[in-house]
Subunit: 262 residues, 2 copies
């Protein structure tokens, strides 16, 4: 198995090292990751400056590529230019901190995985759902266990993009989950600089809620983590709201405007 | 109606000016937009440096806020700190260039709208689906026509996030659409700098395909634009793949690994 490994905490992050060790027994691990932390980059890509990949030697003597771009840039560049052959799977992580609920939209870790599946490769994002704990042991071990299962038979056809969060400490079990809603309250700290100009730091506390009327009943990822379970969420990347298509068509048909009058 | 207007081409972009004029008859338009072009930022947010909003005077004597951050930053800061009251709707655009298919995941324009709906406000993203044409007339007029319809009655409960693309020239009509798949081929141009180091420019041509087995039949956005129709796509922000939940549960149940052995 050829594994493309990336992340958004940067090529020297301990979470990436832990995952590199856990995946090594499964096959060739090719690391292409940002040269420094890129948290909160969402699915950003770099189009206004060129990318410069640089070979990096790890302490065990193996090599990886550090790229001065976003996680999505790394996956694109790896697939199109840096890897000798196409990967069998794209793995992103282990992120230091949770990627739960609505926050997956901001997540560089998840965006690397989404970039994988857009290009036709099954992909897994994995996060340690804690900023305090730096113990990646359980998350790494779980990745090493679940990835061969996902790659077996036709699993990747049915479920080809998976977001995993692992609680700090020993997990109580595994839950297959759906995404919760997470919005932030009191997010800005307002300050004034020595020259009298106002500036704002983004911070805030998460406020969680459960999206109603799910298509399929399932635990919510945020709750699973609170209860110390590993959360495994199948994702897709089609943002179409199919439930609203007929509604929107009726609304537009019922409008009094005519496009030809524009 | 209080409208929060943002974009990703920057506060001085002509597409924003066109939309500002088109929305003015509908109510108060509050502009909070990036201080410069932020294309391709995806749903990035700025957490490692503070944000500095700066008041900008437009040629008509009205004011807006320019923020040294991403479109998502602008919407967050507007809602939490800059606007005197909560908006009734968040509008993002007019983007100069298409935001179609899978590309919506990279789109700063769409991310501003998604940030609106995460915070509980209905939102519309609007793009002129052409890099060549700079004529925002039809796109601006269409926004002015559809937004009052979306805000009428309970429409926003059923359909609260809409992605609009308007073809260059006079449109032939309107299609309610689903997102297509768009991936890029030959995306990197490899070059060597005067010091012998390799660098890569991201570019490439889009390769479009139609996602199979949609939950509801509908035209694909990319096709609608090719055929010179306005494309109106309802979006949501729940990336859960509900179709894969049972499958993943069965796979995990059938695994030979035990979480307690970790």
């Amino acid at each position: 198995m050829r594994i493309l490994l990336s992340n958004d905490d940067g090529i020297h992050a301990p979470g990436l090292a832990a995952l590199r060790w856990a995946l090594a027994p499964l096959g060739e691990v090719h690391v292409v990751a940002p040269d420094r932390e890129r948290s909160g980059t969402g699915h950003g890509i770099t189009v206004h400056k060129p990318l410069r990949p640089k070979q990096v030697k790890f302490t065990d003597g193996t090599f990886g590529w550090a790229v001065d771009g976003t996680p999505a840039d790394c996956v694109k560049l790896a697939i199109e230019a840096l890897l000798p052959q196409a990967p069998d799977i794209v793995v992103s992580g282990i992120n230091h901190g949770p990627n739960l609920g609505t926050d997956v939209l901001y997540s560089g870790t998840v965006s690397a995985a989404i970039e994988g599946i857009i290009n036709g490769f099954p992909a897994v994002a994995i996060s340690l759902a804690s900023y305090e704990s730096g113990d990646f042991k359980y998350a790494a071990a779980f990745a090493g266990l679940i990835i061969p299962g996902l790659m077996k038979g036709n699993n990747t056809r049915e479920c080809n993009l998976v977001n995993i969060n692992v609680p700090p400490g020993k997990p109580r079990g595994i839950k297959v989950t759906r995404l919760g809603n997470r919005r932030y309250v009191n997010i800005f700290h307002k300050r004034v600089d020595p020259r009298g100009r106002t500036y704002y730091w983004m911070a805030g506390e998460p406020e969680d809620s459960v999206p109603e009327n799910p298509a399929v009943e399932a635990d919510v990822d945020v709750e699973a983590i609170k209860n110390k379970y590993v959360s495994v969420t199948p994702l897709h990347f089609d943002l179409t709201d199919f439930q609203a298509i007929h509604y929107l068509q009726d609304m537009i048909d019922g409008q009094e405007f005519n496009i030809f009058e524009l």
